[in-house]
Symmetry: C2
Subunit: 324 residues, 2 copies
């Protein structure tokens, strides 16, 4: 009704639907690095991570507000700042058009670093949350795991032992290496998958902190435990090759897919009787999906590979405050 330009946006919610709201920030030097990614990529990602939260709720994204932190560092000239701000905006705008979501408000503040703090608003009749899973539910994963974490390690280049090792290990799989870079720089939010799953699943979460950490959040809210069948995790050829190389170097053999983070895949719990309906609905929505485990009594997570127990990695997932 009233969009950007006024201090407030005026929005007309759909009758009888619930409003779903989420906020997420991307800070330069913490969540993105303008020496590794373009400003356009950062803009895309800032919106994508918010849309992913709406997708997990099974909500249709409608509007977003963007608060931009603009650095006032003396070495940044006006024209360079303006060009970066424009590219951030273009990255958001392209994804916004594609996703049918409208920018309705914003704010610009001086800051130390570039930052994008977005609030996304969507609508749903019966939104999913982390609560609602129970022992016996199947765990269904839509999308892939590990690719974004692999992309980040490759981007960080040769500063550490990791990337050289990975570059060597990946010589045979260039196409899925490119996919890993794309997963890191321009993640997709699985909005259609969330909409398809909303009437069927019992609980859901999007994978931002890593499969284990986010599964832990879902289990904590739903008060149950889980068993994961590692051989069923949807990993690209590059992620498999990289994890094999990392395992040789002493890391967990599913280091990227369990703890890498930034997958923006969706993890659903579903009653056993509806498991096939959920898998079919997700595939009809255009998203690959498979059952990767099951909820059990208790509160712990057990890992298995072809039926044999596998220890948990030492570090479960991504801590937003400790990442270098």
């Amino acid at each position: 009704v009233v969009g950007p330009g006024d201090d407030c946006a005026v929005l007309r919610p759909s009758a009888g639907r619930l409003l779903v709201a989420t906020t997420d920030a991307l800070v330069e030097g913490v969540h993105f690095d303008l020496s590794l990614s373009s400003a356009r990529d950062a803009g895309h990602k800032a919106l994508a991570v918010n849309l992913s939260d709406l997708a997990a709720a099974g909500a249709r994204p409608r509007w977003f507000l963007c608060a931009l932190g603009v650095p006032r560092a003396p070495d940044l000239r006006g024209a360079a700042v303006f060009a970066t701000a424009r590219s951030l905006g273009e990255g958001m705008a392209a994804l916004a058009r594609e996703s049918g979501v409208a920018l309705v408000g914003g704010n610009v503040a001086g800051a130390e670093r570039w930052s994008l703090t977005l609030t996304a608003l969507g609508e749903a009749s019966a939104p999913l949350s982390r609560r609602g899973a129970r022992p016996g539910d199947a765990l269904v994963l839509a999308g892939q795991v590990g690719a974004a974490a692999l992309g980040l390690r490759l981007l960080r280049g040769s500063k550490r032992r990791g990337p050289d090792l990975l570059a060597r290990a990946l010589r045979a799989v260039p196409a899925s290496t490119r996919a890993a870079l794309r997963a890191q720089l321009r993640p997709d939010a699985l909005v259609s998958a969330g909409l398809a799953a909303a009437p069927i699943a019992s609980a859901s979460i999007d994978l931002s902190d890593g499969l284990l950490a986010d599964l832990g959040h879902l289990l904590h809210a739903s008060r149950c435990g889980a068993e994961l069948d590692l051989e069923r995790l949807p990993r690209s050829a590059a992620v498999r090759a990289a994890e094999a190389a990392l395992a040789d170097a002493g890391e967990h053999s599913y280091a990227l897919s369990l703890s890498g983070g930034e997958d923006y895949s969706l993890l659903f719990a579903v009653r056993p009787a509806r498991e096939r309906a959920l898998l079919a609905a997700l595939r009809r929505s255009g998203t690959s999906a498979r059952t990767v485990g099951r909820c059990v009594r208790g509160r712990s997570i057990a890992l298995r590979e072809r039926g044999r127990p596998v220890p948990l990695p030492r570090q479960a997932g991504w801590d937003h405050l400790s990442r270098a």
Copy 2:
């Protein structure tokens, strides 16, 4: 329906009402200074500035989301960071309770500086915006101007000539000096005034950047000009005394009230036939209000003092990107 703890909040909008959304950020070193104000004050202010935007729209505030930027500087110990975060939260929580608004979501991200980026959501049947004023409308100001800017100058202490000068000028008015400090540190959002005005006024804006700058925004959106009667501006005794001292030192004689910013008062335009109804409704809501000028044809702002023209100040208002 689902509040903090999940990635998304699920909210039930009231049937038949419009949703009003706004986002505003406070960044340490730009918008607040933890050596001048407490973290509790900063938390209060971060919510108040967002509620003020809703108040200007005449919306009833219902929910807010808070994205917190937490510094990762090496000299900040865990316990100190936690204590500051808690105080910021307490400042927000106290005002939230008072205003009937619920925290429904949040995000924490590592950052260079403390920052609070809030998105506030309210509801209104017929929200006001900057658009809708026309020549002949009266300009009605609810609340006061100049006090917050005076408070800031006093807080900044003796680094510049200004504050010493002001401290001397204000020796006779200690009570309204305290009010100025409070206006700077813990501004009130005039929510009741906005609700009272919504069915009567033709346009509105809250005064965050300064009366002249924000009046300019309203006039730009409404495509008209204005005449302001400076002697009618609602200024405290301390603001009057300080402006007199500043005028002696070469500043504009209404420097604080025209360009100071952070007043969080509300400026309304209203058709002449409804001017008295608006003033009465605002006073019934518990807010002082008076007519301070009128909309005219054209696009410019003319200042008058007892009918005689007064030049505009050189700097109209507060530029969010240039404040030291």
